[in-house]
């Protein structure tokens, strides 16, 4: 019996591969499996090649996984375009359409001999069952269901729901196609059984992705305004809000450009409402102007950047973690902005709520650095108990403070009560120009120094927020992994692998990337001799950022590379071993007597 199964499928645009993946993950959710689905497309708007991976498991799924357990190729040209996304290994069961004319012993997988290969007349079975090629994806679902014992009821239920409007005839035809797959599998059993275990109890599951849950978290937090501009891969945040936010007295403005989007969002915040914008790297470059304004005007604002490959247009549909420097350093002047990053679909909810709370509490823009991988992957997750979250609102002036109101009063915490238009007695001038306590423009160097210090002082408590970090594994371990964003999910599994192989490892996952909580890192480093900072960027941006502010253990190295080439748990462990060996060698070299 298997507890964890990774399925990868590819075909051309009309093959309905992604739709099959969606049916599969919905069925997983209905039957109580945990699952992650990632999609990958060619650059065409319609048609062209498409692929998806579904990883389903009894236990929570930490990442999309490494090599496939099952590879489905409707044709080989398209499948081979997804080499990095759909790696086939020696343990993989390969299923492909025999119409490709490729004999099983000649499948075009250089240097790999998969454990089992099935050339199945997928197209022919679809035509026989339904009269058209369109049901190829349903045949594939039947094959998977038959060979791996999964989601038979879930798929049937989903099909009935999805095809209800198309009439009994279409539904029956699809049921025949599905059954044909099941029958084929029964007639051609796997040499070694790989039947999936059944989840202990189905229970209620949520099926969502990082962008949708981010938008839901915004509504939960009381967000009443979204201003933004469509940009891949963040647009779904706006799309969900435009369906829901009105119901909560809010509004969405699809602006004429990225600057207007964040400008309108900042206006809404000035007006006293919780507000957000979402974008990706190219949009973030444009929004930087208003980021600085939000910082000096001390207005709460949540800015979500769903990272993609860059610079410039870069790789719009591929994940990368190369906007960390931008998030931390962009903008002219001394700009205050905490930076948070989620690591899973589920904790995108936590991080977004936290972002609203920080924005409100410290009257500052907050950047949420999501990435395409988390934002657009579908995931089956456990329900989230929303009662464990506190929702924070900005500090408003009381009657006594309104008697002699100073919007930017210099306080010990740096936080001063904030009024908004409509509130009598709270009238003030907000400004991008430096100002005194009343908000009046000033050119005084002394006042600029005081106000800058005030704005930065607000973030001091953040450095003590150990709850914005997770440390997993053996707390005194000499080996360490540090990882953020979607890559942290890979490292969580690498940690399990490494510990199973008796390596003494621990993992640090920062949700708060900036300001740097130096104490957290120092305590973590105390036992560390060697380790890796694992991240999806060429420069290793977190590694370099940490080096600017901390003394790192000698054996701590970056393990980083560009996007669209996700890390696999196995290689993280292997690279960690190399880091250990390399440290040992350097220690030995140092001991060699000088000649």
């Amino acid at each position: 019996m298997t507890r964890d199964l990774i399925i990868g499928m590819a075909g051309s645009g009309g093959d309905g591969i992604v739709s099959a993946g969606e049916s599969l993950i919905a069925a997983c959710a209905a039957e109580g499996y945990h699952a992650i689905m990632t999609k990958s497309f060619g650059s065409q708007i319609r048609g062209g090649e498409s692929s998806c991976r579904v990883r389903l498991a009894i236990d929570p799924v930490l990442n999309p996984g490494g090599a496939l357990d099952v590879a489905v190729a409707l044709n080989w040209e398209d499948f081979l375009k997804f080499g990095a996304e759909l790696p086939v290994g020696g343990e993989t069961v390969v299923i492909y359409d025999s119409a490709t004319g490729v004999p099983p012993e000649k499948v075009p997988l250089t240097g790999i001999s998969p454990s089992e290969v099935f050339a199945v007349p997928i197209g022919e079975m679809a035509r026989k069952a339904t009269g058209t090629d369109k049901a190829k994806n349903t045949v594939v679902l039947g094959l998977l269901s038959g060979w791996f014992g999964i989601v038979r009821d879930g798929v049937m239920k989903g099909m009935r729901k999805k095809l209800a409007k198309k009439g009994a005839e279409v539904l029956e035809a699809n049921e025949r196609a599905f059954q044909a797959g099941i029958d084929y599998a029964a007639a051609h059993p796997l040499r070694t059984s790989r039947t999936m275990e059944k989840p202990a109890r189905p229970g209620v599951k949520l099926l969502t992705d990082g962008n949708d849950i981010c938008a839901a978290a915004a509504i939960f937090s009381g967000c009443q305004f979204f201003g933004g501009y469509p940009i891949t891969p963040s647009t779904e945040v706006m799309q969900l809000l435009t369906r829901e936010i009105w119901k909560y007295g809010g509004a969405v403005l699809q602006a004429e450009d990225e600057i207007a989007g964040i400008g309108a969002a900042l206006g809404a915040s000035f007006a006293g409402k919780k507000s957000m914008t979402a974008t990706s790297g190219p949009g973030m470059s444009l929004k930087t102007e208003v980021l600085g304004l939000a910082s000096i005007a001390e207005l709460p604002l949540v800015i979500v950047n769903v990272q993609r490959g860059g610079p410039s247009t870069g790789m719009p549909t591929k994940s990368e973690q190369s906007d960390l420097f931008q998030a931390v350093f962009s903008g002219h002047g001394d700009v205050v902005r905490p930076v948070l990053a989620p690591t899973t679909v589920s904790d995108t909810f936590d991080v977004t709520v936290e972002a609203f709370n920080l924005a409100e509490k410290y009257q500052t823009p907050v950047i949420v650095l999501s990435d395409q991988e988390i934002a657009q992957r579908k995931e089956v997750i456990d329900p989230i108990d929303t009662s464990r979250f506190t929702v924070v609102d900005r500090l408003r002036p009381n009657d006594a403070e309104l008697e002699d109101y100073a919007r930017f009063r210099l306080t010990d915490s740096g936080v001063s009560p904030i009024s908004h238009p409509g509130l009598e007695g709270g009238n003030y001038l907000g400004a991008g120009i430096e100002h005194n306590e009343q908000g009046d423009p000033t050119a005084s160097g002394a006042m600029h120094a005081k106000m800058t210090a005030k704005r930065f002082r607000k973030l001091d408590p953040l450095r003590e927020r150990t709850d914005l970090f997770r440390i997993e594994g053996d707390p005194e371990a000499p080996l360490a992994l540090i990882s953020w964003g979607s890559t942290a999910g890979v490292c969580r599994e690498a940690l399990q692998l490494a510990r199973a192989e008796r390596l003494k490892v621990k993992l640090l996952v920062p949700y708060l990337l900036h300001p740097i909580a130096e104490g957290v890192y120092r305590r973590f480093f105390e036992s560390v001799k060697a380790g890796l900072v694992v991240e999806q960027s060429y420069q290793g941006q977190l590694y370099r950022l940490l080096r600017t502010q901390l003394d790192l253990p000698k054996g701590l190295r970056p393990f980083c590379r560009t996007g669209a080439n996700p890390f696999r748990p196995r290689e993280v462990v292997d690279t960690l071993r190399e880091a250990v060996l390399s440290l040992q060698r350097s220690v030995e070299d140092a001991r060699q007597p000088q000649e």
Partner: protein
């Protein structure tokens, strides 16, 4: 029941001393605005006054309203966000010709097509004053400035034609040379239920041309009322606005007699209509439950 206290122009004047040069046209705009706001009678705390960057963008600070002296060219996006977030406010946006038609020019058509109920006042002096005399998007062709040696080779933007062409339902022009007229134009613009645009020929005393100064304007200006212009006639408004730069028409060029619904009013209507269907916030994740 006590009646609301009557507001006077003084109630809108803040303690800040304007940084403008003596004789700047913007003083007149400010005075006219005080009068218009007093006539309208909304208390200062119910007014949000947003500007960008430039000499004229300092204006919100000289009023007692909530002000936001933002960044260059972005007054309109911020003002629209405010109005959509709090439609009950009276929202004003202001700035210069560079702010509105150069760096922020891309925002104007969109504010117009959304028809959000705000009033946008551009103090048009055909020059960049704050940065000391560079070419502006409304500078006449051939103008010699520190950034247009040998004379500008570019045609100016025509703010009146621009806003009319994009469908602004209310377009007017005024001048501090006629303070009373300007005050009544501003009052009418603010009262108009929808996007209203007022171009004010507000001369720059330091870098502006002699022919633009208040004194010259007094002889040059042609009040539209005295010409018998019908402000409900869009074609006539378009025709008159073509002579921007040569003629100085003052008054309301165009007022759509049937104000189209504003976006903010439609937002409120939608919010009320959909409020019934809302999940409680704490149950928002039910959106994703798989049954």
């Amino acid at each position: 029941m006590t009646s609301l206290p009557t507001l006077t122009a003084k109630d809108f004047k803040s303690d800040l001393k304007p940084i403008w040069c003596p004789g700047c046209g913007d003083f007149g705009v400010l005075q006219a605005l005080y009068r218009a706001l007093a006539a309208i009678g909304r208390p200062p705390h119910e007014i949000a006054f947003i500007s960008g960057i430039g000499c004229s963008s300092r204006i919100p600070g000289y009023t007692t309203a909530y002000g936001f002296n933002s960044v260059h060219g972005r007054a309109l996006p911020i003002a629209q966000g405010i109005k959509l977030a709090r439609p009950e406010l009276l929202v004003l946006a202001a700035g210069g010709d560079g702010d509105g038609f150069s760096i922020g020019g891309g925002h104007v058509p969109h504010a117009i097509r959304r028809n959000i109920d705000i009033t946008y006042i551009v103090m048009d002096n055909q020059i960049y004053g704050l940065t000391k005399g560079q070419l502006s998007p409304t500078s006449p062709k051939g103008l010699h400035t520190v950034t247009s040696g040998y004379g500008s080779l570019e045609n100016p933007i025509n703010p009146l034609l621009y806003t009319l062409a994009y469908g602004a339902p209310f377009v007017a022009q005024g001048t501090p040379a006629d303070m009373a007229g300007l005050a009544s134009i501003l009052e009418e613009a603010i009262r108009y239920p929808g996007f209203s645009f007022v171009n004010v020929q507000s001369p720059c005393v330091t870098y502006g041309e002699e022919c633009q100064q208040v004194k010259a304007q007094k002889t040059k200006m042609k009040p539209l009322a005295s010409l018998g212009h019908d402000a409900s006639n869009l074609l006539s408004a378009l025709d008159l606005s073509r002579s921007y730069g040569t003629e100085l028409y003052t008054g309301v060029l165009y007022r759509n007699p049937q104000p189209p619904p504003s976006m903010d009013a439609q937002v409120v209507e939608r919010q009320q209509r959909l409020a019934q269907g809302a999940l409680p916030r704490e149950r928002i994740l039910d959106l994703f439950v798989q049954k």
